[in-house]
């Protein structure tokens, strides 16, 4: 595919399979074998299971705040799958699908949401940055990682995510501008899920779509159906290849919808209609991809059921493995501020320990 065939200034959107699962652009079906397709679908089912279980644990009081990615599975799984092993992922906080594709163990993910910093310590070789809570700030890290690649003459690229809300932030502007000026090999994905907590996308900006904002940086931008895993994969792959060839950054708007709540502390009925949600439920990316795969005899209902069961058990097992076993070690609170703990910190730790032990 060619990015320039879809002009965001004309509000053109790239789509490969339509909401019913039919191929719309036949020659855009990516060249992936059945195992790969199953992996993608399995990963989407995995994220769905993780979300659902997390929500139910949360309702049972066994989990803290959790940000579901319900509805955004294609946008994440499809885009992240375009990376090579050595590439970097710089997430915001809602990138469950991308984390899984990039090899972040579920244990880390749950540990993080469960309130333990060790969740953000990735296994060796997993080049995924920790969650960045301050909206849009992570984009600058992505740009910097890419700039370092250029300086070191390394060919890996950086994939980074931000929400529609994040595009209003100054850091978005600066990160894209730096990336463009320094030809940083970054692909910026805006997951436009139509809301920033309760705030509608319409309140964020009057530009007709977000992809066209790329123009301001002399950067290509493309609007993509974010619920279409093939469109997301193709567009991201094209942008990743561009970046790897030294042609600089790309902005991709994944047009999608947050089917769930912002986080478990949020009640979306306060700010949006059920009817709107229902409309989008019909466009559920998992339904769509499932239809396509069934139609093309890659999976059948039985496979789906079994996979779901298997995933459900795995998720349960992983969650339970951390549940009673994840309090923060006291020393860890102090130990990672500097390579060598300064005297003041050591003293505070000692004093507190001595208090815990019942006095000086």
């Amino acid at each position: 595919m060619r990015l320039e065939d879809y002009n965001p200034m004309k509000n053109e959107m790239y789509q490969v399979i339509d909401p019913s699962g039919k191929a719309k652009e036949k020659d855009h079906i990516p060249d992936l074998d059945d195992e790969q397709l199953k992996y993608l679908f399995r990963t989407m089912l995995y994220t769905r299971t993780i979300d659902e279980k997390a929500l139910s644990y949360q309702r049972q009081g066994r989990m803290l705040t959790y940000a579901p990615n319900l509805g955004q599975e294609a946008a994440q799984v499809g885009s992240a799958y375009s990376l090579d092993k050595e590439d970097w992922l710089v997430p915001a906080f809602r990138e469950l699908g991308a984390w899984l594709v990039r090899g972040v163990p579920l244990k880390n993910i749950y540990l993080y949401w469960y309130g333990n910093e060790w969740g953000s310590h990735m296994p060796d070789g997993v080049k995924v940055l920790p969650v960045s809570v301050p909206i849009a700030s992570q984009l600058q890290h992505a740009t910097g990682i890419g700039m370092a690649n250029n300086i070191k003459n390394e060919k890996n690229v950086v994939l980074t995510y931000v929400g529609d809300g994040g595009t209003s932030h100054g850091d978005f502007h600066e990160a894209l501008n730096f990336a463009s000026v320094f030809k940083s090999p970054v692909v910026f994905i805006v997951q436009n899920n139509q809301y920033a907590i309760s705030t509608s996308r319409k309140v964020q900006t009057l530009s007709e779509n977000i992809a066209l904002k790329a123009t301001a940086y002399g950067m290509p931008g493309i609007l993509v159906d974010g619920n279409d895993i093939f469109a997301m994969y193709n567009a991201t792959k094209t942008a990743v290849d561009r970046a790897r060839k030294g042609e600089g950054p790309t902005l991709i708007e994944a047009y999608t919808y947050r089917l769930g709540a912002h986080t478990t502390s949020d009640d979306p009925t306060k700010y949006r209609d059920d009817a709107e949600v229902e409309e989008w439920r019909k466009k559920d990316p998992i339904l769509r991809f499932g239809e396509y795969l069934k139609e093309n005899n890659v999976v059948d209902d039985e496979w789906i059921e079994e996979t779901k069961k298997e995933l459900g058990e795995e998720v349960k097992k992983t969650f339970e493995s951390i549940e009673d076993n994840s309090d923060t070690e006291l020393e860890d609170i102090f130990k990672y501020h500097f390579e060598k703990m300064p005297a003041q910190l050591q003293e505070q730790l000692d004093e507190y320990r001595s208090f815990l032990e019942g006095g000086k």
């Binding site: 910093e117 209003s168 100054g170 920033a196 309760s198 923060t328 609170i333 003041q344």
Partner: protein
């Protein structure tokens, strides 16, 4: 009519009252309008006073504060929200470079009657950046007032005073006790003067200065040591800047001992300033080292570690005893 409210409800009522009393009061920020704020501080404002005076903004703290500067210059009294104090930093440049300085820069031509509200502090088992206590960052900036309430009554009266104040006020709300208890308070608007501490309890042996969500914890600790015969004077600072120095200077002159309790890290926390003032003004009265009991000099831990961070009533009690024994 009984009007028994929590802190968060009292804040909402203060906003309601002032929007009614004064057309020029406008309230905005992220998720402040339609939803009424993630903590519901601004609930019903939009319904009652319309979209023009209570509204959602794009996600951009610098612009929220920066446009408030413009509004205040142009005759309004904006009350803007930072969703959490930990997200006030993108607005830091606007706050330190403009909010704090416009009056001085223009030699009094433009004052900025604006309020920046934010929930602050830990203990609600939240994500990173949702738990910090950084009142010291702002209290050190010349030209800003920093206010922290600890009860529904104070929250309402101080917020109304802040809105009416001709100078910019950072109003930091102790989210840990947003809903911890209720209090009967007047339904109509009333003011509690900024810059005045409150003596919560008089005592002879030691002075404790604290504020915000630590107040109830200190009160618990004080009860514990009371049984051991220690008489404590407890001061709720209420306004962090400019500080009511006389409140604790006079108290220390009586008790000879002082403990500052805060949730923020120790180094360069507000406790350091209080102790330095006590040294300057009551040195000869000191019978024990002025002491700080505070959060650690670390990032606020994620929930599985947070129980260690905030000084507990037990630790406070133990520290009081140690000082009195000195």
């Amino acid at each position: 009519m009984a009007n028994t409210l929590s802190i968060i409800q009292a804040i909402n009522q203060a906003l309601m009252n002032e929007m009614k009393n004064d057309d020029t009061v406008v309230v905005y920020g992220e998720d402040v309008g339609v939803e009424g704020g993630v903590f519901r501080a601004t609930v019903d404002l939009q319904k009652t006073y319309g979209k023009e005076r209570a509204f959602d903004t794009p996600l951009a703290e610098s612009a929220i504060v920066g446009t408030a500067v413009g509004m205040a210059i142009n005759g309004l009294k904006p009350v803007v929200e930072m969703q959490f104090s930990g997200f006030s930093y993108p607005a830091f440049n606007q706050i330190i470079s403009h909010v704090a300085r416009m009056r001085n820069r223009s030699r009094g031509q433009y004052n900025l009657p604006m309020v920046i509200r934010a929930p602050y502090g830990g203990g609600i088992r939240a994500l990173e950046h949702h738990s910090e206590s950084t009142e010291a960052l702002y209290a050190q900036i010349p030209g800003l007032k920093v206010v922290i309430p600890s009860t529904p009554y104070d929250a309402k009266g101080l917020l109304i005073a802040a809105i009416r104040d001709p100078d910019p006020v950072l109003f930091w709300e102790p989210k840990r006790i947003y809903r911890a208890f209720k209090q009967e308070i007047p339904e109509e608007a009333y003011e509690i003067p900024l810059g005045k501490a409150k003596i919560l309890q008089e005592g002879e042996d030691i002075t404790i200065v604290t504020w915000g969500a630590m107040v109830p914890d200190v009160q618990k600790a004080v009860k514990m040591v009371q049984d051991k015969g220690i008489s404590t004077e407890v001061i709720d600072l209420r306004t962090i800047s400019p500080m009511d120095r006389e409140s604790f200077i006079q108290s220390v002159k009586k008790t000879g001992r002082i403990l500052v309790v805060h949730e923020a890290p120790k180094t360069l926390g507000v406790g350091a300033e209080i102790i330095s003032i006590v040294n300057e003004k009551a040195f000869l009265h000191l019978e024990a080292p002025p002491t700080r009991l505070t959060g650690f000099d670390t990032t606020f831990p994620l929930p599985r570690g947070e129980k260690h961070y905030i000084p507990s009533p037990e630790r406070i009690a133990k520290t009081i005893e140690d000082i009195v024994k000195y």
